[in-house]
Structures are given as structure tokens and as C-alpha cells.
């Protein structure tokens, strides 16, 4: 511990703590422009410079470690003059026109810093050299005139996301932010995660959708989780006048630590489907608007008459409450089958194994964040469950190795140390072979390489990387539709045990694991002999899956949006979408989350849980076990907490 005095206040901090953080502990804010708590300190903007007794020149508080008995002053005339100088330099470098900028008036850290120093004008005028505006990206606009060259975006793109798209070209006064080697952002390797936009302190990187829709102080913030995939990243939903303005990553969330992907941040902004606003009943082959009472009685009647000859299909985007209610209804009427909307073989294999083995075999996502060897099998986390790919990619500069086993090309082709193309039906055999090689139970590496059509040196490299790694992380998922998924999973778990590694399977939607733990899994037979009830929520079903319902004689659909499925239905109920309802969800690694509603739904549109409750009440279905009790009873691939 070292003792440090700042502005007369003394405290003790751990050795290595920077002066900036020591000051924060004391409640003293030192202004910065290039610093961010989640990024390594850069020391470029020089706004944080303070007086340190005994040292001749001003010192950067963001990088200087507190030394024992250091005495520091952050509020002297010299420090304020220094800050004004930096600001005057920045204002003269590019074109900082506050009047037309959407972060002006409170959301711009540059402007706020200038106001804090009482600046009323630019002491040194700019050159009036125009800088370009890059509007090539579908979500992000890069306004170079407003850039202060703080490099927070570059560091975020590298350290937090691992994509390394953003960088700087040239040096000195010609320094400039570029994507890749100078491509327009929209044509670059950018994966649209938007982390750069979230960290940018000025209006230089902005997103098209939320620009000019309100300053932070005018927006309402709801802390909740993203329901875009099974990871369940913590997010902040920003709304105004019951309108979605922006979604941001929650820096304090444990699972993702602030990063989110394009699916979570931007896809909700471009939702184009039309909402269902009223129940509808088919009359003479045409759907007509109906009251809730009429539609519920019609549905109740049909269900009662089809007892034993109906099946239910539930979206794994529904909350635990909704899923449980749905199951109660289906069970009460002897459903022929209850299925999820996830027909991927890998997901089924994971849940089947959980049931049959009775023990958990997966790890928590936190445990795979600092691995030094990542093995990706049957999954492309650069497309789905993207935040998992961030955790892996950002470890590469610190020496982590990446191996992928896939039956075709994935987004990891450029990042992986070794990309092995193995036909999906041979993957389980191949993984067994690798395990034997690592355990040194086999020395036929030549033969193995030949039989799987691999370069000998690649295979040797793979074995070497796995054997010498201290922390192996295996990610297995559902991008590949295996014929023998169970066998692949078995071989993976055996390999994991051999390597003493950690396994995380990506599963499917947000409540994929949740549905399974109350007994709802995918069944081949989704359609009932007389009736199919589909609790779709706001999910967008693939065309292939939707086709399965062509055969059903009668369908009752609970859905937020109009689709070909609802157009062909017999009774349709409108339900709230994910922004409008709360509920509990169990993510891929067994955390139970409670989501919060951020918007109010249109009138007379209820949550899936409420709508199904109305149906259950009309059918006088008795309450069974609570979902929490069911979760406790059911084996799961990962421990649920």
C-alpha cells in the first residue's frame, strides 16, 4: 500500500494504482478525454495532467502510479491553464461546430470540459480545412471533423472486441482514424458491434438511429438484459416518450462487461415487421378482428374439443412464466407433443445428455474469458452469440491460440491459428483421434492427417497448441446440423476432460436452457392431429420451420408480429414484444435473470404470460408446479443459479 495526498486529502491505495484512480477514490474528479475505465490508459490527451510536488513538470494522472508520500494538486491555476491550453489546441485542430452537433448541450465530453474551464471562445482559430464524413456504414456515421484523436474507439475495437478494424494512419498532424487499411467503414471488416460509438467522447462516431432523438438527460434508462441470443448480455435501453431511442452495453454487467453485438445494439432499431394489435378469428376463411373475450372463448372451445389431439410449439424467447403457463395448458389437455422452435441437432444433443447423465458438464462463461487456447466446434460465434467471439479474439494479442473445427468456412478463418475443415459426419471420430494424440495414446499422426485430409504440419500444430495450453476453452454450438450430434458431444466432453478444459455450448435463443429445464425440448412432430397451438412471442421463425405448420388443420397463434404463419392461422392473439414485457430467463450458462420492460405496449396487447393466463383461466387449468420448482428438479448441462 502507498500513502498519497491529493488536494490536502490523504488516502492509502494499492501499489500500482494510478493517481487518477486514487483521486476517484477520494471523490476528486480529474478531467480526461482519452481515458476510459474499461480500456488500458493511453496518456495521449494530456488533460489529466496534475502538479506533483517534487517533480518539475506536470504529470499525467491516468498513467502515473501513485508513489509513496506523493503530494498532488489538481486544482491550481497552472493546472487550469494547462487544461485550457489543451482544449484550445484541440479546438484549433479540426472543425468543432457545436451548433449543429447532436451531442452538443451536455453529451459531449469536449464541450463539457471547455465549459468547466469557463471557455467562451476559441483562443486559436482553426485552419478551416474540411475533413470527410464517412456515412457508408448502415448504422454508424464517422464524422472526422469532430474527432479529437483520443483513440478510445481504436482501443475498444481491439481490447474489448478483438476485431482490430479501427486504427490510425500516418503520424503527427496527418494522423487520422481509418478502418482497415483505409476503407470506408461500411466496406471494412467492421462487425457493427457499435462499441466504438458507445465510447466516443464527442459526436465523431454516432449512430444514425438515435442521433438528435434526445440528450441523455432527456431519455429514460432501463437496465435489463438483451434477449438476442442465449448469452444474455446486460444492456441499458434508452427510451423517450415511449419510443426506443438507443441500446447500450451495461459496463457493470457481469457477463459481458459492457460489450454487446450488432444483434443486440442495432437490430432492434431496424425492426420492420408489422405489429398485431388485436385478436383475430377466422370467419369463412378470412381473419376478422375480434374482442379478447370472443377470441378466448373460441380458442377455449377448440382446445377442449381437441383434447389429446393437439400439440404445442413454444418459442424459446418466451419467459419462464410464459413457458410454464403454456406447458400447463398443453399438459392439461393431453398434448401429443410440446416442442420448442429450435430444431438444431446440437441443442437437442446437449439437453438429452443432461437428462441422461444427470450431471452438469459445462462451465460458466466467466471461466472461459481468460483461456489461452480456444477450440471452436460446429459453431460460428462471429455470426451468432457474437460476444463469445469477442472474448476469444481479444485474447489473441496476449498469446491465446484459436483452433476451429468446422465443415465450412466461418468468420474465424482470419483469426484462427488453425482452421480444420472436417466433414460434419466425421467430426466425432476426428475429435476422438485428437484426444488420443494429446493423451499420447496414439502416434499415428501421419495416418490420421491423411485420413482426414489435413496437412501434417497443421495437425501437429493443433496437438502442440492443445497440449501446451494451460487453460483450454471449448465452444460448441448449433451452426452445424449434425446427423450424429450426440456422438460429437460425447467426443468433445471426453477431449475436454483429457485437457482439463472448460466447455460452453451456445444453445439457441435466450431461454433455450430455460425451456429445457421445465421439460420443453424440440420434438420432430410439431404439428397436432387436430390442432396446433403456437406461442411465438416476438420470434421471427425461419421459412423452413414455418413450413412445418402447412399441414396443421387448425392453428392458434400467439404472436407480436404479422407473418405468413399468422396470416394462415385460425385464431390469432397479439402479444407484447421483448421491450414491453419483463419475466425471468435462464441464459446459456445457467444464470437466472429478470428482464425489465422498457416500453409500454399498445392498448389491449398483453404479455405472453398474461395472454396465456387468460386462456388458462378460461379453460380452468389448475396451477401446477412453479417454474422454479421444476428447474430445481430437472438436470441441466450447467449448474443453474
Amino acid at each position: 500500500m502507498v500513502k498519497i495526498t491529493i488536494n490536502g486529502k490523504t488516502t492509502e491505495v494499492e501499489r500500482g494504482t494510478t493517481i487518477l484512480n486514487a483521486a476517484r477514490d477520494l471523490g476528486i474528479e480529474i478531467p480526461t478525454l482519452c481515458d476510459h475505465p474499461e480500456l488500458t490508459p493511453y496518456g495521449g490527451c494530456r488533460m489529466c495532467l496534475v502538479e506533483v510536488e517534487g517533480i518539475k513538470t506536470l504529470q499525467p494522472s491516468c498513467t502515473l502510479p501513485a508513489g509513496n508520500d506523493m503530494v498532488i494538486h489538481t486544482d491550481t491555476q497552472k493546472v487550469h491553464d494547462a487544461r485550457k491550453f489543451i482544449l484550445s489546441m484541440i479546438f484549433s485542430e479540426r472543425n468543432h461546430f457545436c451548433p449543429s452537433c447532436q451531442v452538443s448541450g451536455g453529451d459531449c465530453e469536449l464541450q463539457n470540459s471547455a465549459y468547466d474551464e469557463g471557455m467562451t471562445h476559441w483562443p486559436i482559430m482553426p485552419n478551416w480545412q474540411p475533413y470527410p464524413v464517412d456515412a457508408s456504414h448502415p448504422f454508424i456515421i464517422l464524422e472526422h471533423n469532430r474527432c479529437i484523436l483520443c483513440r478510445q474507439c481504436v482501443r475498444a475495437c481491439g481490447e474489448l472486441v478483438g476485431n482490430f478494424t479501427l486504427a490510425f494512419e500516418e503520424r503527427g498532424a496527418d494522423s487520422n482514424l481509418i478502418a482497415d487499411l483505409g476503407l470506408p467503414l461500411g466496406e471494412s471488416s467492421c462487425i457493427s458491434c457499435g462499441t466504438c460509438v458507445q465510447v466516443c467522447p464527442t459526436g465523431s462516431l454516432i449512430d444514425r438511429w438515435s442521433a438528435f432523438q434526445g440528450k441523455e438527460t432527456e431519455l429514460d434508462k432501463t437496465k435489463t438484459i438483451c434477449l438476442g441470443c442465449s448469452i444474455g448480455c446486460g444492456i441499458d435501453i434508452l427510451t423517450r416518450d415511449n419510443r426506443l431511442v438507443r441500446i447500450e452495453g451495461d459496463w457493470d454487467a457481469e457477463i459481458n462487461g459492457g460489450v454487446i453485438c450488432e444483434v443486440g445494439r442495432f437490430h432492434p432499431m431496424i425492426e420492420e415487421r408489422e405489429r398485431l394489435l388485436t385478436p383475430m378469428v377466422s370467419v369463412n376463411g378470412k381473419l376478422k378482428a375480434a374482442t379478447w373475450d370472443d377470441a378466448i372463448s373460441a380458442a377455449a372451445q377448440k382446445i377442449t374439443n381437441s383434447k389429446g389431439k393437439l400439440s404445442g410449439v413454444a418459442s424459446t424467447r418466451l419467459s419462464m412464466e410464459a413457458l410454464n403457463k403454456f406447458k400447463e395448458v398443453c399438459d392439461a389437455f393431453d398434448a401429443e407433443s410440446i416442442s420448442t422452435t429450435e430444431d438444431h441437432s446440437a441443442i437437442s444433443a446437449v439437453f438429452d445428455l443432461a437428462q441422461s447423465s444427470g450431471t452438469a458438464f459445462e462451465s460458466k462463461i466467466d471461466e472461459i474469458k481468460n483461456a489461452d487456447c480456444y477450440l471452436m466446434i460446429g459453431e460460428d460465434t462471429t455470426k451468432d452469440h457474437q460476444v463469445l467471439s469477442f472474448f476469444a479474439k481479444r485474447q489473441i494479442p496476449v498469446g491465446a491460440k484459436l483452433i476451429q473445427i468446422s465443415d465450412n468456412s466461418t468468420g474465424f478463418d482470419h483469426f484462427a491459428n488453425e482452421s480444420l475443415t472436417i466433414d460434419k459426419n466425421s467430426q466425432s471420430k476426428f475429435i476422438e483421434a485428437i484426444e488420443n494424440l494429446v493423451a499420447e495414446k496414439s502416434s499415428d499422426i501421419d495416418k490420421i492427417a491423411k485420413s482426414f485430409k489435413l496437412d501434417l504440419s497443421s495437425l501437429e500444430n493443433v496437438v502442440e497448441m492443445m497440449s501446451s495450453a494451460k487453460k483450454v476453452a471449448i465452444i460448441f454450438g448449433s451452426r452445424t446440423n449434425y446427423d450424429n450430434a450426440a456422438a460429437v458431444l460425447d467426443s468433445i466432453i471426453s477431449l475436454k476432460n483429457q485437457l482439463n478444459g472448460k466447455l460452453v455450448t451456445t444453445k439457441g435463443n435466450i431461454n433455450s436452457l430455460g425451456a429445457s429445464t421445465i421439460g420443453i425440448n424440440y420434438t420432430e412432430n410439431v404439428v397436432g392431429s387436430e390442432l396446433t397451438i403456437v406461442a411465438l412471442g416476438d420470434e421471427k421463425l425461419s421459412q423452413n420451420f414455418s413450413k412445418k405448420f402447412d399441414k396443421t388443420p387448425f392453428s392458434i397463434i400467439f404472436s407480436s408480429y404479422i407473418s405468413p404463419l399468422t396470416a394462415d392461422a385460425d385464431i390469432v392473439f397479439p402479444v407484447q414484444n421483448w421491450l414491453e414485457q419483463g419475466g425471468h430467463f435462464i441464459n446459456a450458462d445457467g444464470h437466472i435473470f429478470e428482464a425489465k420492460a422498457a416500453l409500454e405496449a399498445p392498448e389491449a396487447v398483453f404479455s405472453s404470460e398474461e395472454s396465456l393466463s387468460k386462456l388458462a383461466d378460461a379453460l380452468e387449468v389448475k396451477k401446477q408446479k412453479s417454474w422454479r420448482e421444476l428447474v430445481k428438479e430437472t438436470p441441466a448441462p450447467v449448474t443453474i443459479s
Partner: protein, 180 residues
């Protein structure tokens, strides 16, 4: 003691800052109790007294040689010079013309406008002021008080004038400075 005298003028601006001044509404009565308003573009006298005034106010930036002349004259005749509004403080909207050459701007204004036929010509009468780079007032003459805003809030303008009227330099900070 005689009341402080005030004069104002406008240069390359839109007059909006003077309109914002008028938004002090009935407080103008209080103001003229404190000061002697000598010359403004919106009153009878337009040119500041030769013997000088206490406070000179300039709206708008410097866009041509005539603006330079007016600014220099106001500076010479004022003890304290106030730059009122963004255009005077840094150049404002008219300064966007600085990203283009003078020729491009003049051509766009007089020849390429949609409503001009082929006879469009850039005026070149020797009586016209020579256009220059658009500049803030303080790039040409010394400015004592900067009042940013587009336009600055009427309350701020009143505060600035009231302070100057009572012999104090206005201090623009915190809520008085943040324009939103």
C-alpha cells in the same frame, strides 16, 4: 456620474442576436434606466459617437473589407468591446464558406443558383466591399467580452449588459455559459 453609453452594430450575421436582445421584453425599460443606448442598427442613430462609448457590441463575423472597417471603428470608439453571438465569437454559420475557395462561393451564389439564367455574373463593382476569409471579430480587433450562442439567450444578454452597466465585467460560467 453619467450613465454608461452603449452602441451596437452588426456585421456578417443574421440579426438574430439583436432579436434575442429584444427578447428581454419589458426588461428593456430597466436597461435604459441603467445605460444610455446611443446607436444600434435598430434605432435611429446607426453610427457610434465619435467621442466614443463605454460599451460597444458587435454581432456577426468579419466577411469583407467593409466589416473590417466597421469592426475597427467600433473598437476604436469603445472602451469595452463585446462580441455577441457565435458569428462574432468564431465566425458562425457564414464561416462554413471558408471550406471553399472564394471563387467557388461566389460562383455558387451568383451563377449556379437554380433561379438564375445564363446571364448570371459575379458582381464586380468597385463600390462593393472585398470579400475575405470569414473571421471572428477577435481575429481583427481585440475583444473584451465573448458571448457565445446562436443566438445567446435573452437572459444571458440581459445579464451581460446589466453587469457592464454597473461597472462589472460579466463572468460567464456554468449555467450562464452552457447553451442548450
Amino acid at each position: 456620474m453619467a450613465k454608461p453609453t452603449v452602441a451596437s452594430n452588426w456585421l456578417a450575421g443574421c440579426a438574430g442576436c439583436h432579436m434575442s436582445l429584444l427578447d428581454i421584453d419589458e426588461r428593456i425599460v430597466k436597461l435604459v434606466e441603467l445605460v444610455d443606448l446611443r446607436a444600434t442598427p435598430i434605432t435611429d442613430f446607426k453610427v457610434p459617437d465619435e467621442k466614443g462609448v463605454t460599451v460597444g457590441i458587435l454581432e456577426g463575423g468579419i466577411n469583407n473589407s467593409h466589416n473590417e472597417h466597421v469592426a475597427k471603428q467600433m473598437r476604436a470608439r469603445s472602451k469595452i468591446l463585446v462580441a455577441l453571438g457565435d458569428c462574432a465569437v468564431f465566425g458562425g454559420i457564414p464561416a462554413m464558406r471558408n471550406f471553399f475557395t472564394l471563387e467557388e462561393s461566389l460562383k455558387r451564389a451568383y451563377v449556379d443558383t437554380p433561379s438564375t439564367d445564363e446571364s448570371g455574373k459575379i458582381p464586380s463593382s468597385p463600390e462593393l466591399a472585398k470579400p475575405t476569409l470569414v473571421r471572428a471579430v477577435h481575429e481583427v480587433v481585440k475583444v473584451d467580452v465573448f458571448v457565445p450562442g446562436c443566438p445567446p439567450d435573452a437572459d444571458i444578454i440581459f445579464y451581460v449588459l446589466a453587469e457592464l452597466a454597473q461597472g462589472r465585467m460579466p463572468k460567464l460560467e456554468n449555467n450562464n455559459l452552457m447553451w442548450n
